[in-house]
Symmetry: C2
Subunit: 301 residues, 2 copies
Amino acid sequence: MDERAALALLEGELHPAGDDAAVVDGLVVTTDMLHERTDFPSGTTRYTAGWRSVGASLSDVAAMGASATAAVAAYAAPEFREEELLAFVRGARDVCKGVDGEYVGGDLDGHDEFTVATTAIGRTDDPVPRSGARPGDAVCVTGTLGRSAAALELFRRGAREDDPDARERANELFRFEPRIAAGRALAPHATAMMDSSDGLARSLHQLAEASDCGFAVDAADVPIDDAVRSVSESEAEALERATTFGEDFELVATLPEAELEAVREAVDVPLSRVGTVVESDDGITVDDEALADRGYTHGED
Amino acid sequence: MDERAALALLEGELHPAGDDAAVVDGLVVTTDMLHERTDFPSGTTRYTAGWRSVGASLSDVAAMGASATAAVAAYAAPEFREEELLAFVRGARDVCKGVDGEYVGGDLDGHDEFTVATTAIGRTDDPVPRSGARPGDAVCVTGTLGRSAAALELFRRGAREDDPDARERANELFRFEPRIAAGRALAPHATAMMDSSDGLARSLHQLAEASDCGFAVDAADVPIDDAVRSVSESEAEALERATTFGEDFELVATLPEAELEAVREAVDVPLSRVGTVVESDDGITVDDEALADRGYTHGED
């Protein structure tokens, strides 16, 4: 079984199924585990690892439209080096500070491979599900897509050519701002929301399944990050990476078209309308061509 | 650096230092990571692993005197087998149910070694610290000590002699009841509290450091579990295991002697008074002999 099949199996056992985070008693709770081999390319600093791993959980809190309360991390490594540990904690703390959450520490553990498990907690009385998208709604994306795809390319270049500038730029691209403020601003309007951590293509497929709808996307409106353009041979390659690579932690939200302008003003980051919600029979298309359900599945690594 | 040195290093960086769980905004948050090699002996069922790993985090919530709200677990394994996953989730859910908490799922992740990271969240307006013990207070322990030491011995026997009964008994011993209710009942009276996950000896040393006190313990009053007696050659060996092996997840609390009887009636499990808080200059003794700071340190595995 890969991760998706296993998650599907557990849907009958777990509560609640499908959304980016669980909601219990006004609290939003979400957890993730990241590993050196699959999640932290060679050249990733511990500061970036702390930022990114805690940020990934905060992104799930953002996707529910919740505020960020606190985050913890369990840090496992073959050995504990002072400068690495302190850098990790600083990264974790800085990403929390940026979203008015508090990093409250965690656990340390000896382990063969550098592994981090993070949990973030948020609050909302009105969580945004994945299931409310309605035909006619606008579908929007915060920020830009493709930063992590570009970072991976730059980490590879950094390692191949021993290029410290490429590594530094890659680390910067890897440290994303979790969209907590944008999620709060979107929440009163959004009919469905999730993050783009598995890629825009997979996010749209998941929203379509939860909401029983389809999507018509315009390729020209997908906010492709300049960084991924600069490491791609063509615009088509950049679009492909921006759409399917994932790991970008932007928000993908649907909302009534009439509210789009008001939301754009309320959100603190660029909000791109990439298409429209359509009937499920019309499927998921980009420029009228079917968009495959491809993206990042951890179990396949 | 071993785990304790690393934790000491982080005390300056993290907030709050030392207690079993962080407290933020009325919430108690704690996280742990467990690995097959160091935490789940051969013969541990996935049901037991789910129970125990989530229980370990709930125990930290109990140690703060908090109620249990929710728990999550990130489950990483080389492959996802249906029956294993479902058993794990059932164990996680059952341990939560027993303490009126809710298991709300988690993350799945491919990884070489079976690894679980759990986070538990509780609520309290009045967390019990480690730092309030005063000379003259009684020091008490819930339940019995040595269950996990006995379980480990039985897991070994189960593997060596292919003895399913030993394995079954070991699994039972491994599934402890987190002391949430006892912690709630102790909280209004306790001057200091923590769990015994690193062993009674280490717990006393940690309480002594946080409270700047000593302890005088009577060996005859240590509640040694019958299971650890039955796998030990002598009473002295059973006492040694009950005192230093750890992983038992009982509560160690100090409280005014005058309140002892009232607390005993309020607590839903046996509460043994094992000794008295003394001045720090008097050290930590068992029957007047110095008790070494020995116990379970994950980093040493």
